[in-house]
């Protein structure tokens, strides 16, 4: 054999040896568990629990929704519920609620969707976060089982409509509005004048109707008579412990416990997969952007008058 060929064969032998040593070295010093939560994991498949997150104000989005930024609006919650409904692997759903409520129609739509899922024998477990009051509780009442943390703010069963009265301010500034209307109630809840007794009665009628619907739906969802709920359905908020005492919830527990309860009720094994909406860092990034967008919306809501003229199932301190 040529000397040059011997040199090359020796180099290749050295390279092979170093590669084998490297593989053995890496395997021996390998950590047992992944360091990062985003490490490669086995793909999830088979029957499991779906997670739906209901966060922030419950209302239909009026702005255009970008394809990149996920919206936390009612539409996205309904879309997620529909997605889980179509998935044959989903045997139970945990509805994670962190919401002070929202508009009547949007809340009723979510409640209706949850009831439809319940009729399809999909187990629904509500898990309450910081706050699940008013419309947030309304949505929870559609579930088979409700769990809240000890300090969760819940309850606030009731309806509210707020209209600012700026008459005094306008008079001070010398501003008068010209209103031409087809009927006497066309500018109902106008901010530029006092509300008349007839108008108040009209709004009150709508509020009472929505309130009765709220009571009826909670009674239906919780399977308890209206008379048992009514004493505490005066708009009061309460913590998880009190809500348990009044039978507005079934159990005190965390999100993890809610997942375990969902598995148990759906007769799934303890290690059944959880299909969560937020599953990869990219999604989380966009969810964060969405959160920023929502915060912006909240600010607008506090300083503007845009959304004042609505009936709401909302806890509004």
């Amino acid at each position: 054999m040529d000397k040059s060929r011997k040199i090359i064969v020796s180099i290749l032998a050295l390279l092979t040896l170093s590669a084998v040593l490297a593989i053995v070295d890496i395997t021996l010093t390998m950590k047992k568990k992944a360091r990062s939560p985003y490490g490669i994991t086995a793909p999830k498949f088979g029957p499991g629990v779906g997670v739906v997150r209901l966060s922030g104000a419950i209302e239909f989005s009026s702005d255009s929704v970008s394809p990149l930024v996920k919206s936390g609006s009612t539409e996205s919650v309904l879309r997620r519920l529909e997605e889980l409904e179509k998935d044959s692997n989903i045997k139970a759903i945990v509805l994670r609620i962190n919401s002070p409520g929202g508009t009547v129609a949007a809340t009723q739509e979510i409640y209706g969707k949850l009831q439809a899922l319940r009729k399809k024998n999909i187990i629904l477990v509500a898990s309450m976060g910081d706050v699940a009051a008013s419309g947030g509780y309304y949505a929870a009442s559609a579930c088979n089982h409700i769990m809240a943390n000890h300090g969760t703010i819940t309850g606030s069963i009731g309806v509210i409509a707020v209209s600012p009265n700026l008459k005094g301010l306008f008079e001070k500034l010398g501003i008068r509005m010209n209103v031409i209307k087809s009927g006497k109630y066309k500018d109902l809840l106008s901010s530029f004048r006092e509300i008349s007794p007839e108008e108040r009665a009209l709004v009150q009628e709508m509020i009472d109707s929505s309130y009765n619907k709220f009571l009826k739906d909670v009674s239906l969802g919780r399977n308890i008579p209206i008379s048992d709920i009514q004493p505490y359905a005066d708009g009061r908020v309460m913590n998880g412990e009190t809500a348990l005492k009044y039978k507005l919830i079934d159990e005190i527990g965390t999100f993890e416990m809610a997942l375990a309860r969902a598995r148990e009720k759906a007769k799934l094994p303890e290690d059944a997969p959880v299909y969560d909406d937020v599953k990869n860092p990219l999604d989380q990034f966009f969810m964060t952007l969405d959160g920023m967008a929502q915060k912006g919306g909240g600010l607008e809501r506090r300083v503007g008058l845009r959304d004042y003229y609505m009936l709401e199932y909302r806890y509004q301190p």
């Binding site: 060929r5 090359i8 290749l12 490297a22 395997t27 390998m30 992944a34 490490g39």
Partner: protein, 199 residues
């Protein structure tokens, strides 16, 4: 094939890669086969050794097994695409400069020129064993071996077309300048879109 491996004729190519790139080019040009299989294997092992070297530097998890299987295949494909693009652009530039097109020769040359990069693993391993700045030496050796690879390719191109070294260097630099420009323009476009979208 077995006879070819036993004959160790392939070892001559590797020897010339390390010692005399001009002679390597001459041997490639007189070679009977259109594609030298050794070149492809060198690219494959280059991908494997790169991943092993990087894995040695960090604390590995079970994810390592994905890296040495799917990861190596993926990196190998990237290297192949990279080599194809560099070779075609070098050949294109040569033709524009009035030299003949010799894509087969350039492809074999660029593939074989990757051989020194295999030395990265044992070189870094020594510093890893002694815990003496392995990351620094990884970066240093990577740059040095990359320059060595480029030097082999430039000398080969110079020999292939009988052009002076500096011109061969410019020819080899052309694909990188081209990619740099394209990447810069693409980055600008993405940034403009990104900021436009979020503002």
């Amino acid at each position: 094939m077995i006879q070819y491996i036993r004959s160790l004729r392939w070892a001559d190519y590797l020897f010339y890669v390390l010692t005399d790139p001009r002679k390597l080019m001459k041997t490639i040009e007189t070679s009977e086969s259109r594609i030298i299989p050794g070149g492809i294997f060198i690219v494959l092992f280059s991908a494997l050794f790169e991943i092993l070297t990087v894995s040695l530097l960090g604390a590995e998890t079970q994810y390592f097994y994905y890296k040495v299987t799917y990861g190596v295949i993926f990196l190998f494909l990237i290297y192949i695409i990279e080599i194809l693009m560099i070779s075609s652009l070098v050949d294109l530039f040569c033709q524009f400069s009035g030299y003949g097109g010799k894509i087969r020769g350039i492809l074999n040359l660029v593939c074989l020129a990757q051989f020194p990069r295999l030395l990265l693993l044992p070189a870094v391993y020594i510093f890893k064993v002694f815990h003496f700045a392995p990351v620094f030496f990884y970066a240093l050796f990577s740059i040095m071996l990359l320059l060595w690879t480029a030097l082999i390719a430039v000398q080969g191109i110079s020999e292939m077309h009988g052009m002076i070294f500096s011109r061969a260097f410019l020819v080899y630099l052309f694909p990188f300048a081209f990619y740099g420009l394209i990447s810069f323009l693409l980055t600008m476009l993405i940034m403009v879109n990104f900021f436009g979208y979020f503002s």
